[in-house]
Amino acid sequence: MLVAIDIGGTFTDLMAFDEATGRFAQAKSLTTPAQLVQGIVDCLRKSGVDLAVISELIHGSTTAINTLIERKGAKTGLIVTRGTRDVYSIGRGNRPESYNLFFRRHRPLVPRHLTREIDERMLASGEVLEPLEHASLEEACRRLADEKVEAVAVCFLHSYVNPEHERAAGEIVRRALPGAYVSLSHEILREYREFERTSTTVVNAYIGPKVGGYVRSLKASLAQIGFRGDLTIMQSNGGVMTPEVATQRPVAMMESGPVGGIIASAQTGRTLGLANVISFDMGGTTAKASLIREGEPTMAPGYYVGGYASGHPVMVPVIDVVEVGAGGGSIAWIDEIGALKVGPQSAGADPGPICYRGGGTEPTITDANLVLGRLDPEDFLGGQMVLDAKAAAQGIVGKIADPLKMSAAAAAQAIVDIAVSKMSLAVREVSVAKGYDPRDFALVASGGAGPLHVMAIARELHIPKVIVPLYPAHFSALGMLAADERHDFIRTFYADLDGADFRRLERTVEEMAAESASALASKKGTERRIHLDLRYVGQEFTLSVPVGASQIRAGDRRAIRTAFDRLYDQRYAHHSPDEPVEIVNIRLAVIGKRATMTLPRLSAKRRAQAFRKMQVHLGDSVRPVSCPVYRREELGAGARLSGPALVREHGTTTVLFKGDVCSVARTGELLISVRGAA
């Protein structure tokens, strides 16, 4: 039995898959921000899954990213080579917003007085110019100990080529500050470019103590309630890792939450024969969009947390996502000039929307949907939670409708409209802004609030086709069940391709593989992917060229060279076969493949039968329409229905407007043609 648990800002979702029977189970419970681990335990209990039979529990969590964004990490010190104290704050000195006089640079996580320079110097060749001077290091440690730092990052120049000084310094720091969490730059990112490496290492150290504590307490609590299987943690690269690796490299789980839904969207697209889809996931706190082309999520070698212009570079492989602060729990409010705003502040799970009866007093998007009749107070989460419709209406009237002199329904409609236009921007940013016409893609809606709003977004962007997959409210967890184990390693290995010592290169790959062996939990069916980052001599940017282990063993420079020229030509439409080529980095991905999961087929049942009718506001806030309500689980393959309609299921509701036509695929997805779109 495989179990995946995804903690969002509002809900904790669980999906379980029994490989023997091919059956799924699901559960959802409110996230308990102060007690995340307790939330997981509660969710497991609720699912009724027998803990003793779980072979692996896969976990995705926003702990890492939230710690950074909310700047709630550890008090962190930084130890660097003499002369480079300000490298971290100077960064690259650039202003991506060229015409903005009020541009903002990144705000360092370590102040200057906690950044200590010590005497040591390595050269780019790996030779020692100046040995590590212990006295200056010990003095630095004393100062950081006096300041009671909880974490220390160490980043020396050229440690990617020769990490000896960093290693030695690490030992001394660990002895001098026994309680501190220590990150050495060459262990986090063994690639040249000191600013990016420092930033990535500092982020790792800054979030390390909190994430480490979280993982430890999760393991302990699971053991306590009888879990005996393996715990794995979702990474930003779409693969999973062990808790031990997560504790050392929490920076790799930055986008741990969103990637599950993207993996699942790609899979859904593939199942339906749609290679180009946009994944749209709206949870309680945020909405996320991601573009999938040719069946593959878009990957980036790293990203800037907080945006390129003023964010923190974190150079670990990540699936590309655009996120906006609009989720079911996003709060509606009136600003100082009387304009209605929605988010980015969220009521989250605690206190939650007013209707959750958790003490929330601020009206949210969920409250607005309830007032519009799109949610049923008696039929939420399969009736596990009874919503307070009256309180939601009162909240909207008091906080929004009265000050703006409108009816409750009109205020609720306005809240939903604003949220929709905001989320449309996120979808636009992954498509239109990159030159892709959203009309060429299908929109895959997930998250508890995704299917509620997806048709309005599709209409706004003229997207003709929407897919509501199976288990949309547990989609991220579903994607995690399908995630392989994956570790990415990088090493700067700077040499001319022609003159490179391939025996040393092979040894380096073996070293990296050995490193991966200690990180790797799965012992069988692992796959190694080796890439060399190559460029023409004189260039800066590289192309990652896949190479085989046998090519490296044989030192087959010609084949590697040809592959590079060909890839270069494919990518840039020209190449230079006579120019010398150099190697810059070696990349190794070690992948522990998981067996493919087959979803059960739905039995055919053409007739769709509504189980009731409800009065629902669908765009017209004066007159509600009488709207049939279907149960998702009662819809068979081939069933057709058209809007206006609601399709209710555990954890979400799909809203269809007049003219939208929905049919059920053999594999269970709702395929919806949007009215009015081409």
Binding site: S89, E97, L129, L157, H158, V432
Partner: protein, 551 residues
């Protein structure tokens, strides 16, 4: 084919056009052979119509390359005629009489035809590492009297004619520049980038139809113009002035060069719509008057090697002139120099390969009406221009970067102080040549606003082996022996508002962080700190009263 201009189509086209220019830029950067392109981003990519109007341009990169490619197209269309271009043509130019920039900035452009009709050009301007002449890197120094000594002049020539490469022209270029492998590699990248632009533009035209695209472009120009006009309309009508000066013209010492602000596009853009993409509409409502023969409008054949040195100061002066009109939107002055450039070159004694160290270091920006200025950031004329990483520099060149550090007390004091300038210290392991820029603004450093103090200005300093003191340096192409040490110093930003009004707690933090010395805290800010760096409130009150009276 969709023909009507519905709002979604308009929106898609509005975003797709800049996306094309940005994709051209990304490819150019990724395939270029010279740091001025891949790190310093001294280039621009654009789509321009036959009237020389800017359809779209890349984001980031050098700000003063804004919408200035049009003159090349109007000139080319005049010379060749509309019928004078055919598919497969690639043109090259760097001629100063038309382009108005130094010869290193080489422009490549390619015509775009839709259904046989010439409609637009895709263009790439990029800084070549060398174009011949007396010096490499940034062109010749100010001492050179004319363009012929500055390098090879290429005047609107077809390097590909209908798809056929002009071998003769190629050889002329190859034989007259110092790093042909690098520059011709860059030329190929420029051509590929232009062709990519044409391909993407064609996809767009095929999808939506020529009529729709042209209608959309006209609409986008109009809307952009309106947006800018709406902003300007909010200002009180008036004549706003500001003045600044350079220490000298680089030839005659101590003869001040006055800059009296009239108008310029960078400043206008920064003030009206800083975050929106650039197109022709961005400047329709702006008229700029610069008499020919002025330093900002040189008369050919004036030498142009140092053409851009003045630009950030001009932009800043214009921005400052509006401080009265919009006090809450104008920061104090920044370091104002394009440079902070690190340029050291030579031949590696072991590998016999030629090397060039190049980096652009940032300086301090001015204090803002609501917060301190940023430190160590490139000038207003440079956008996404990145310094060279120390590790990348040392990997390729025989130098040691000993420090890249913020300089205490380099910022102008103020209620919101300026940002700090930096000291970059470089030791060269081998003999070579340095380019030292002139410190032009020692007499007119980054000024403060509303009572704020000026930032400290920058300069170049050299200590030869065996010497104990650093000497201030200027001049390009200066031979420097192995194991010399050079400090490239950039200026700090001006302060905004009275320093005595600065929150003493912020001053204390600045002292703890070593941005401000204890002395400066006392003398400039009137803040008395105890041994443990806590604020002595009573002493601070006295000090501030005394300093306030003295002022």
């Amino acid at each position: 084919m969709r023909t009507k201009l519905d709002p979604v189509t308009l929106e898609v086209i509005r975003n797709a056009l800049p996306a094309i220019a940005n994709e051209m830029a990304a490819d150019l950067q990724r395939t270029s052979y010279n740091m001025m392109i891949y790190e310093v981003r001294d280039f621009c990519t654009a789509l321009v119509n036959l009237d020389g109007e800017l359809i779209s341009q890349n984001v980031g990169g050098v700000s003063h390359f804004v919408a200035d490619l049009g003159v090349i197209i109007t000139d080319a269309v005049k010379r060749y005629g509309r019928k004078g271009f055919k598919p497969g043509d690639v043109l090259i130019t760097n001629h100063q009489a038309v382009a108005g920039q130094h010869l290193n900035n080489v422009v490549i452009y390619v015509p775009y035809f839709f259904k046989g009709e010439l409609l637009a050009f895709s263009m790439v301007r990029a800084h070549w590492i060398d174009v011949g002449g007396t010096s490499t890197g940034f062109g010749a120094g100010p001492e050179v009297p004319d363009p012929w000594q500055e390098g090879l002049q290429l005047d609107q020539l077809k390097i590909h004619d209908g798809g056929r490469l002009d071998e003769t022209l190629c050889r002329v270029i190859r034989d007259n520049i110092r790093f042909p492998e690098s520059s011709l590699g860059d030329m190929n990248s420029q051509i590929a980038s232009c062709k990519l632009g044409i391909r993407r533009l064609d996809e767009l035209f095929r999808k939506y139809g020529g009529g729709t695209i042209l209608k959309a472009i006209a609409r986008i120009f109009d809307e952009t113009e309106t947006q800018c006009r709406n902003f300007v309309a909010k200002l009180t009508d008036g004549v706003y002035e500001a003045e600044s000066f350079f220490d000298d013209d680089g030839v005659t010492p101590d003869e001040r060069v006055r800059i009296h602000a009239a108008g310029a596009r960078v400043a206008y853009k920064a003030i009206t719509a800083p975050l929106a993409p650039v197109n022709e509409g961005s400047f329709r409502a702006l008229e700029v008057i610069i008499p020919e023969g002025n330093i900002m409008m040189a008369r050919y054949p004036a030498p142009m090697a140092g053409w851009s040195i003045f630009v950030p100061t001009v932009v800043e002066t214009i921005i400052s002139s509006l401080a009265q009109a919009m006090p809450d939107r104008i920061p104090a002055a920044h370091h104002g120099l394009l440079g902070g450039s690190v340029v050291f070159f030579g031949v590696h004694p072991q590998s016999r390969r030629r090397f060039v160290v190049q980096s652009i270091e940032g300086g301090g920006w001015g204090g803002r009406p609501f917060e301190d200025g940023e430190s160590a950031t490139v000038s207003v004329c440079q956008g996404d221009v990145r310094n060279g990483s120390i590790e990348g520099i040392e990997m390729k060149c025989p130098v040691l970067v000993k420090a890249r550090a913020l300089r205490r007390d380099s910022a102008g004091a103020g209620k919101f102080r300026g940002g700090l300038g930096i000291d970059m210290e470089v030791r060269n392991f081998v003999d070579g040549k340095w380019n030292f820029e002139r410190a032009n603004r020692r007499g007119c450093p980054a000024w403060g606003l509303w009572g704020g103090g000026p930032g400290e200005s920058g300069g170049y300093y050299l200590r030869a082996p065996g010497e104990s003191e650093y000497r201030m340096m200027h001049g390009s192409h200066k031979p420097v022996s192995a194991n010399s040490e050079v400090v490239v110093r950039t200026g700090g930003g001006g302060g905004w508002g009275e320093p005595l009004e600065r929150d003493p707690e912020r001053v204390r933090w600045d002292v703890l962080e070593e941005f401000v010395s204890k002395d400066a805290a006392r003398d400039l800010y009137g803040v008395a700190l105890r041994e443990d760096l806590s604020v002595d409130q009573a002493a601070t009150r006295d000090l501030r009263r005394k300093l306030g009276r003295a002022a």
